[in-house]
């Protein structure tokens, strides 16, 4: 068991800087997920941790030892690849035992350990088969078994579920969570799927263009996005954004734009007269009401109504901006109806237009966590 410390990690391919300056501490037993759009450098960072990519600059230590130049085999890690990376010509048993054989572990011990991991992952019936004779989910389970049998200090997962179909993905996600609960091995998991990140992570590291946008628990990332990018990336369907102008009133602030005027107390935000801000609201935070209330609701015409089951997604415009809102399927509007949505002050997110950083004061979520506390009880 071991923690990971990345200090000023830097990666360049020739002139191209993929990862400028990456700092992160992963604690022992922690399950950290690197989340970000494709090409954001998350896999590169993982491969640097694994030793499959050279580290251009900075310092990486695993379990207290600096391993910048250590061979992948000497880092106490095991990795699960997106395309399973099984040895195609070997039987499942040989695949799993390959690493231990290289370490010259005794035959008896290898057999015992193979038995143990295959039992844990339900692979006993397939030991003599070749990888191609197994389904994708089974192959990925073999890959996990191959990683587990080494009893590594750290597990690295490189988008392990991306090649599986949706149903299997949910099942394997559950299995990975279960294994982590059982083994408590420090894990770093790379994915672009926010569902995986939300459900598995102790902490999410949200990356964009090689830099960390935000680090936090899934709740923190979802409820208190620190940047516009994070706010837009997390959540499906994604948050709607409106460009608004700020002006001071006697007892608070007014946010106004084409077709919208909102009055807020604004205590939780650092606002300035005439500032330009971007307001973000998740679709589920629009509340359908019967009558407009000045300064508290937005009014528009339902342009489309999309059936999602229990809820419908209503699309409408404010000014030029397309907005979506979730409405209970029971009292859904018809397309073309005029709709009024109430907006609660503590459910909106305000970002500075220029810096794209949150305007919420006391950014530490623990300071602003009455909502969290309610959820907890």
């Amino acid at each position: 068991m071991a923690g990971i410390v990345c200090k000023h990690l830097n990666k360049k391919y020739g002139e191209v800087e993929v990862v400028p300056d990456f700092n992160l501490e992963v604690e022992d037993h922690e399950f950290v997920v690197f989340l970000g759009p494709s090409g954001c450098g998350k896999s590169t960072i993982l491969r640097m941790l694994a030793g499959l990519e050279d580290i251009t600059g900075g310092e990486l230590s695993i379990g207290g030892k600096i391993v910048n130049d250590a061979e992948p085999g000497d880092r106490g890690i095991a990795m699960v690849f997106q395309n399973y990376a099984l040895y195609p010509h070997m039987s499942i048993k040989d695949n799993i035992a390959f690493g231990l054989r290289r370490l010259k572990t005794s035959k008896k011990e290898i057999n015992e350990r193979v038995d143990a991991v295959t039992k844990m992952l339900g692979l006993e019936p397939y030991l003599d088969r070749k990888p191609t004779e197994l389904s994708g989910g089974q192959q990925q389970r073999v890959a996990i078994a191959r990683a587990m049998i080494k009893t590594p200090d750290v597990f690295l997962f490189d988008e392990p579920l991306s090649n599986l179909d949706a149903k299997l993905r949910a099942h394997m996600r559950y299995e990975i969570a279960r294994l982590h609960k059982e083994l408590k091995t420090t894990s770093v998991y790379v994915t672009h799927d926010q569902m995986e990140a939300m459900t598995l992570a102790d902490r999410i590291v949200l990356l964009n263009a090689g830099e960390i946008e935000q680090v936090g628990s899934p709740e923190e990332i979802y409820d208190y996005p620190e940047t516009l990018f994070v706010a837009g990336f997390i959540g499906t369907p994604s948050m709607s954004f409106l460009d608004l102008d700020v002006s001071k009133t006697s007892d608070g602030w007014t946010l106004s734009g084409t077709g919208i005027v909102l009055e807020i107390a604004g205590e939780q935000f650092a606002l300035n007269e005439n500032a330009k801000v971007v307001m973000g609201i998740r679709p589920s935070k629009f509340h359908l009401v019967d009558k407009p209330i000045h300064g508290k609701t937005v009014t528009s015409r339902a342009e489309f109504v999309e059936f999602h089951g229990d809820e419908v997604l209503v699309g409408f415009s404010i000014g030029e901006t397309q907005i979506t809102a979730f409405v209970k399927a029971g009292n859904r509007p018809q397309e073309g109806d005029t709709v009024h949505f109430a907006v609660e002050e503590n459910e909106i997110h305000l970002f500075d237009k220029k810096s794209e950083r949150t305007l919420r004061q006391g950014t530490s979520p623990s300071a602003a966590s009455p909502v969290l506390a309610e959820v907890g009880t």
């Binding site: 694994a50 099984l86 195609p88 010509h89 690493g99 290289r102 370490l103 191959r146």
Partner: protein
């Protein structure tokens, strides 16, 4: 028949006809001639049945040529494959992609050279008094070194040129094969404590076995056509120590006796042997 069905035949029939004429007419002619007693000296000839073939089996020079050809095959195919795999893996492990591509370009040059030119270049390099290959030996011992007229070394010296031409080329192919492999299993093996040689022995070799065997087979067929190399470098000499089957057939047919029929029977035997042996090997490899 509509045009969709006739189109393939329109293209295939003429080309196949031309190829068949080109392949089978000389073949039939050679088989026909091998049953005669034709020589270049006289225009008359008559059918003598299998006499040429029977004579061959009591011809010690023919048996020698068979043996030399066999040795030639073994030496050139194994040395080419060993060099190709060794060099290919070395490039794969040590060079960056850009340097690799440059090396590949350089490595292609020997095989692009006509074999006759290669043979001449290397004959001079092996020259006992002026050759660059023999220079170190001369410099150290002060004596000339004649590899091409020494019965023990002549075949190896010629085989070396063949290796020089094909070893580098095959190294490029091996490198490209290695590059075409999915990288993840190799990375997984690195994480599984495998050393570099173990990765190649346990992972890449089994993955590349089929293409490498095919490559060896291609080289074996290519090696059969050693005539130009041997003809220019040694003419089958010293004595008959480098006289391969095609070399012997040529000298029987054109240089020494003009025994065209006798030479043809040799060519027919060579063809039958090749077809039988290679079909056998091919079948074995594929199962």
């Amino acid at each position: 028949m509509n045009s969709r069905q006739t189109l393939p035949y329109t293209f295939l029939v003429p080309t196949i006809l031309v190829l068949m004429v080109l392949a089978f007419v000389p073949l039939g002619y050679a088989i026909n001639i091998s049953f005669q007693d034709r020589t270049l000296i006289s225009p008359n000839s008559s059918y003598i049945g299998f006499e040429n073939y029977i004579d061959l089996f009591s011809d010690r020079r023919f048996k020698n040529a068979l043996w030399v050809s066999f040795k030639w095959e073994i030496i050139t195919v194994t040395s080419t494959m060993i060099a190709a795999v060794g060099l290919g893996v070395l490039m794969f492990e040590t060079l960056k992609p850009r340097t690799r591509n440059l090396m590949c370009l350089v490595f292609l040059i020997p095989v692009l050279l006509p074999r006759v030119s290669a043979a001449f270049v290397w004959s001079f390099a092996f020259h006992p008094l002026y050759g660059i290959v023999t220079y170190p030996y001369r410099a150290i011992t002060g004596k000339p070194l004649d590899l091409l007229t020494n019965p023990d070394t002549a075949l190896f010296a010629v085989a070396f040129v063949d290796l020089w031409q094909w070893g580098f080329f095959f190294a490029v192919i091996v490198l490209k094969l290695l590059e075409s492999l999915p990288p993840q299993p190799l990375e997984a093996a690195r994480l599984d404590y495998a050393k570099t040689w173990q990765i190649h022995a346990f992972i890449t070799w089994p993955m590349l076995k089929a293409p490498l065997v095919s490559l060896a087979l291609v080289k074996a067929i290519e090696s059969l056509r050693s005539f130009d190399l041997v003809y220019i470098m040694t003419r089958g000499g010293p004595g008959i120590t480098t006289e391969t089957l095609d070399m012997y057939a040529f000298s029987q047919g054109f240089i020494e006796a003009g025994k065209i029929s006798y030479a043809s029977s040799m060519a027919v035997i060579m063809m039958v042997l090749t077809v039988v042996i290679f079909t056998f090997i091919w079948k074995r490899v594929r199962t």
